[in-house]
């Protein structure tokens, strides 16, 4: 068994928490884990990519090799597109429909790609995937910072490797008490979003 998950987002979106929830659950299940974050120099606002590799045998490179990503989670649209090349031919993407404009886009020196061109490029890639409004959902629950947990909730519907009930227990354990209830709510909401997206296909 080998599974490579890549989480692409922007600093402050909570890649690391999402990755650590999954890692702890998978370690409990007896798998080997190799993970790494690639972060630039800034605390916030830069591209952040988390690699999470799961296996029942030895793992070597902490970075998932190009073309070997099984599940590509995009917490932000541009960041997912930027890493799309790493997705394997039969890989799946899970995209949060959320745009964080870049400095250069705001200056009108660059153009954030239009929804139509994004859709067209994704379709042309021939890769399968789902787009959900995780940030919008997180805001409805009370805080856009819950985006990562909504996305993890959605991810858990994508692979039989993930048992939602057990992951919820890990989530509850790892959540600070102040946000535990909201996290669990966000997790469930994410699952429902993906179920809806699956039906819509």
């Amino acid at each position: 068994m080998n599974l490579n998950i890549l989480i692409a987002g922007v600093g402050g979106q909570g890649n690391l928490f999402a990755s650590s929830i999954l890692a702890e659950y998978l370690i409990n299940k007896g798998y080997q884990i190799l993970a790494v974050e690639t972060i630039g120099a800034a605390q916030r606002g830069g591209s952040v990519v988390s690699h999470l590799r799961v296996s029942d045998s030895d793992l070597y490179s902490p970075l998932i090799p190009a073309g070997e990503v099984d599940i590509l989670m995009g917490f932000e649209i541009l960041e997912m597109l930027r890493n799309f090349e790493l997705l394997s031919t039969d890989g799946t993407y899970l995209l949060n429909d959320f745009k964080d404009p870049t400095v250069l886009c705001n200056m009108e020196l660059d153009t954030y790609p239009s929804d139509e061109s994004i859709m067209a490029a994704l379709q042309k890639s021939g890769k399968k995937g789902y787009t959900i409004k995780a940030t919008e959902c997180a805001r409805e629950i009370g805080n856009s910072l819950l985006t990562n947990v909504v996305m993890v909730g959605a991810l858990c519907q994508l692979s039989p490797l993930f048992n939602s009930q057990e992951i919820k227990q890990v989530l509850a354990k790892k959540s600070p008490s102040k946000v535990r209830e909201q996290n669990l709510k966000a997790f469930e909401a994410g699952g429902l979003l993906l179920q809806k997206a699956t039906k819509a296909r």
Binding site: V10, Q43, G45, S144
Partner: protein, 610 residues
């Protein structure tokens, strides 16, 4: 049963030091190595300290080692340069208690100003033994063993992890924490610990530096013997006569390539410098060609060529000197591409990657939303523009002011360079006013020396100290201006304004960087003064303040009146807060990301933001 913990490489190395019974752990924060000390700080028996800079950190560690205590100093490659002067002496004197230097490298310059390979200064220059780990477990094992070997050989051992090892997370085996029974005691040995050009009576008047150099050289055969049997080097059998020499992280990528290609290559896995000579000779002797995979310079490649030449073994050795890319970080992709040139039949086994047919805008770094530095950078940009001034920059969060939109700083080199470079600009005869912008931690680290030099020489310049009370960029480590240490214990905070006043600065204005009119007024006054005028732009880091409850502004909801906005873009091009968006000729506030700092109100000259 062996217990395991899910640790990042840095934490694993901290664990290795703790298990080895380390007594003193010092360092200066720097990506990729910062979290080593954070881990060690959880153990109350270890004295853990973020020091003013890396040289001081290494000197403190050495002081402890001289009393037979085990000590570790942790830094990134740039920091090892700072500590190099001291390193070039402790290699001659040797150590007493185990002394380990962790020098974290950043191939690819992902979070650094350069992609220097610190194996060069630590091994080829200082002639110290170096361990180069490939994964968190090996990094921990290496640190632990480095302490033992350091005591055995009386030499400082260097562990050189690259960023991918520092930041990788995996399950790491925990072992017992050793108890060191030796009582700390300083005993004199002036022939070793007084490093001076003095003639040594006991050695017939030979100069001490020559004598100690000889001692260091005499240690090399002992090191070679240790590395010959080291568990960190091994050979793996495989097909063909092209041997893959996999050094440090290179081993991870070579093994990954094997998995992808479903093929076994002859592999010489290396993790030590000096090299295990016999293993190398035996392996090379069976090969027609060796390909050396290492980050990031052709260090082992060069050493292999020398060794094999001396041994009279004719084998082609290629690697980072040209066969592989000379710049950038190693990856599975690089290994696969190189194997495909050696074995064209493997080409079709390499996973296909097709780029998306869409232009993806790059994401440049900027200040966080709510960062006080944005107001400061904005005000400084306008004044530098007005006065045709030159702004020299330094290392820290505020360096993002040098990128678009502000493009404020004109130079950024290494820690502390801003003030001396500005000094040189005035000496050149240029009539441009000069401003240096430097952070609090960076000022203490090395900047203070350039500042004292400028004050002493009455250089006309404005020095802006970005004082957010923490080393924010690397994860909020305390510095000498902070009032608590790594463990949260209260310590004396050094007051920057008092310090520079005592040194004789023309002025030392302490201002709140969120207050743009106040910043502007202070800059306008300072630029007209003679001598060194210091502005301490003080306000806590917003990200840290959100955690501690100490933020530098009173939150106020801002709104933008579209009827008053004429699309001049001053808020975009001269301020650039990501919570201000621009489209259809007008600016808007993105309330979802705005943190209500209210700084932009002063930026808009038309009063559209209230």
């Amino acid at each position: 049963m062996v217990s395991k913990e899910y640790l990042m490489g840095n934490e694993a190395m901290g664990r290795g030091a703790v298990e080895a019974g380390v007594k003193v752990a010092t360092g200066y924060p720097g990506t990729p190595a910062s979290e080593v000390l954070d881990y060690a700080s959880k153990f109350p028996d270890v004295h853990v300290e973020w020091c003013i800079n890396e040289k001081v950190a290494l000197e403190i560690a050495m002081g402890a080692s001289l009393c037979y205590s085990r000590a570790i100093a942790v830094m990134k490659h740039n920091g090892t340069n700072v500590a190099l002067d001291f390193l070039m002496h402790l290699n001659y004197t040797g150590v007493r208690g185990g002394l380990v230097l962790i020098s974290g490298d950043d191939p690819g310059g992902i979070s650094s100003q350069n992609e220097e390979d610190s194996r060069i200064i630590t091994h080829l220059d200082a002639h110290l033994p170096v361990f180069d780990p490939w994964c968190p477990q090996e990094a921990k094992d290496m640190v632990r063993m480095a302490f033992e070997l350091s005591e055995k050989t009386e030499l400082c051992f260097v562990v050189r992890p690259v960023m991918r090892v520092c930041h990788a997370r995996s399950q790491v085996k925990l072992e017992e924490i050793a108890t060191i029974s030796k009582e700390p005691l300083f005993e004199d040995d002036r022939s070793r610990f007084i490093m001076s050009a003095v003639r040594e009576p006991k050695a017939g008047g030979v100069l001490r530096p020559v004598l100690r150099h000889k001692w260091l050289n005499s240690k090399q055969p002992e090191l070679s013997k240790i590395m010959a049997d080291s568990p960190f080097n091994h050979v793996e059998e495989g097909e063909g006569s092209i041997g893959l020499v996999a050094c440090g992280i290179g081993y991870a990528y070579v093994k990954e390539a094997e998995e992808i290609l479903g093929k076994k290559f002859p592999i010489l896995k290396l993790g030590t410098l000096p090299l295990p000579k016999e293993k190398v000779v035996k392996f090379a002797g069976k090969m027609d060609k060796l390909v050396v995979y290492e980050d990031s310079e052709a260090v082992v490649e060069g050493m292999l060529k020398e060794l094999l030449y001396d041994e009279g073994i004719k084998v082609e050795v290629v690697g980072r000197s040209g066969f592989l890319p000379k710049e950038g970080e190693l990856s599975t992709k690089v290994v696969l591409a190189s194997l495909a040139t050696l074995y064209p039949e493997l080409e079709n086994l390499i996973p296909e990657t097709v780029p998306l047919e869409i232009k993806i805008p790059i994401r440049t770094r900027t200040q966080c939303i709510g960062c006080a530095y944005r107001g400061l950078l904005h005000a400084l940009k306008l004044i530098a523009h007005k006065t045709h001034g030159v702004v020299t920059g330094d290392i820290g969060c505020y360096d993002a002011g040098s990128f678009l939109p502000l493009e404020l700083q004109s130079t950024i080199y290494c820690m502390g360079s801003s003030i001396p470079m500005a000094t040189g600009i005035t000496y050149s005869g240029s009539k441009q006013p000069v401003f240096s912008i430097i952070g609090d931690s960076t000022l203490f680290h090395n900047g203070i020396l350039g500042l004292l030099n400028a004050i002493h020489n009455a250089v006309d310049m404005v020095v802006i100290v970005c004082d957010n009370r923490t080393t924010a960029m690397t994860g909020f480590q305390p510095h000498p201006g902070s009032d608590t240490d790594i463990s949260g214990k209260p310590v004396a905070a050094i007051d920057i304004a008092k310090l520079v006043t005592a040194a004789g600065a023309t002025s030392a204005r302490v201002i709140n960087s969120y207050n743009i009119p106040e910043v502007t007024k202070a800059l306008n006054k300072a630029v007209r003064e003679k001598g060194v005028s210091v502005i301490v732009a003080s306000s806590p880091c917003y990200l840290l303040g959100k955690r501690t409850g100490e933020i530098g502004f009173t939150p106020q909801k801002v709104s933008l009146n579209p009827d008053l906005c004429n699309g001049c873009k001053i808020c975009i091009d001269y301020f650039g807060c990501p919570a201000i968006r621009f489209g259809d000729g007008k600016a808007t506030i993105d309330q979802a990301t705005c943190v209500d700092c209210g700084m932009c109100i002063a930026v808009c000259k038309r009063g559209a933001i209230t």
